[in-house]
Subunit: 305 residues, 2 copies
């Protein structure tokens, strides 16, 4: 096992951010990411990249950040007493893409690494991450492609990895008050340490590349599909659910806001426009009603084939 090394993780994350931005700019064809560098008083900083008004991407952000501290807050050590008194570093890439065309799903991906160190002791570290898809008008071919890409990248790491991390994703991206999943899922994992550093890091790399492989072809396939005002209005309505999930349930968002993180970078995940309508219900056999059938955990790869 090679040594745990945050520099190589940081270096990978920066090039992942570059690669994702490049692939999305190409797929968009017009929009460009604008970069904002920021630093954090307590240590570290980040580079936030935001695209607005692309030809495909209405608004989207791809963040890299590396933050550090000399002491973990009590909330972080309450359930992990081995972390008390350690200095820590956390780095990650996090992104949300809100396309304009309701036929292209919103997507989210994140990969992250945490390490807490203490002189003379082994470092405590773990990886986390995943990606998930939030369609408005779900297209089976796209969902199959998304999940097949996820499964293919997981398989080299173990036969059950896809099933486990797919289930974790379904469980995590769930709006209890709506009894709906956020979308059709993907992968989610946290506290990944048991595989050792090298294998875990390789998995993170596969997840990062897998996001590009999973999402870009969907953009390419759907970006010319026409849509009307009704579809646009339904998309704006459903984006309200995205806001509800991120502000009510998402641990990363809430921890960031509560711990004095950089608000503008955290809330870059918000949609450019969203709406709420009292007691909206999709009509019987409509295209909108189809979405609601998809907002429950399903074994897409066997059910949709």
């Amino acid at each position: 096992m090679s040594e745990v090394n945050i520099e190589t993780v940081v270096s990978f994350l920066k090039s992942l951010q570059d690669n994702i931005c490049c692939a999305l700019e190409q797929a968009d064809g017009k929009g460009k990411f604008v970069e904002d560098n920021w630093t954090r008083e307590e240590g570290g900083g980040g580079r936030t990249r935001v695209m607005t008004d692309g030809s495909v991407i209405e608004q989207g952000g791809v963040n890299f950040s590396l933050v550090s501290g000399t002491k973990l807050p009590p909330s972080a050590t309450a359930h992990r007493p081995e972390l008390a008194g350690r200095s820590w570093q956390a780095c990650g890439v996090s992104l949300v893409i809100h396309p304009k065309n309701p036929n292209i799903p919103t997507s989210h991906a994140n990969v992250r690494f945490f390490i807490a160190e203490k002189e003379g002791e082994e470092p405590v570290w773990w990886f986390g991450g995943g990606f998930d898809l939030t369609p408005f008008y779900p297209i089976d071919e796209d969902i199959l492609h998304w999940h097949q890409t996820a499964k293919d990248l997981c398989t080299p790491f173990g036969e059950s990895v896809y099933d486990e991390h797919k289930k974790w994703c379904d469980d995590y991206f769930y709006l209890k008050h709506r009894n709906e999943t956020r979308g059709v899922g993907g992968l989610f994992f946290d506290d990944l340490n048991a595989w050792g550093f090298d294998k875990s890091f390789d998995y993170i790399k596969a997840v990062g590349q897998g996001y590009i492989d999973a999402y870009v072809p969907i953009i390419e396939r759907r970006k010319e599909t026409s849509y009307g005002e009704d579809e646009r209005q339904f998309q704006l309505y459903r984006r309200g659910r995205y806001v509800e999930f991120n502000l009510v349930f998402d641990r990363g968002t809430l921890f960031g806001l509560q711990s004095g993180g950089r608000t503008e970078s955290i809330l870059m995940s918000m949609p450019p426009l969203a709406r709420w309508e009292y007691n909206y219900q999709p009509e019987g056999e409509s295209a909108e009603a189809k979405l609601y059938e998809y907002l429950t955990p399903r074994d897409w790869l066997t059910e949709l084939v």
Copy 2:
């Protein structure tokens, strides 16, 4: 002291809902509230009234609800062991009005009553409530009227009531991650019991009527003021803050969603349309910049005169 009587409170709340809806329909001139009656499996129910696409009110809801249970959840009794084993009832009127014209502020009001009873013991009860104003383009005359109405209704209940409940409002409607108050405040109070039932109930009545007296004249004064697309876009952006407050901080919203309340009635407070924009900053001396100077607790009645 007269006996604590939830029936009279419920009866008052229902007529308050009627009065507020009637006053708002008149001020709007076109929109009508549509009523939805609902019941709750565990006990109780409500009547939700929503107006959409009025001439003034873009979307707004005025809810009455009365919910009850035979046993309080552990979270409710942890800090109040005297409540353990009691049956309880909670009733209230809660409203949020999102006008279309950015010159008319969004407004919120709430009055509520809670009672927990046990055979052979004194009931435990309290009132809570208040109202607060969220302007987009703050107009001093309107803020003065809002706070003067609040102060005038408080004074009969004690010289310091306005100051105390105004401060409570500033403290409560605060977005920590933005370092902004939600708006220019008003009144907020909870756990009101020390005054005894009759005086507390009278205060609740004054607050309910006070909301009408404070808000309707602002609608009347501003509903003909013209505005352009820039003002509309700023309003939609600022409505994003309203969403952030309600979903991240508002205890009523979070408790409602977590405890299995009726989601559509709780989230009727969401705006019809809201937007987010990365790192928006108002320009130097603009009308938009003025708002940001007003999003900090101030003694309006002495400072604005």
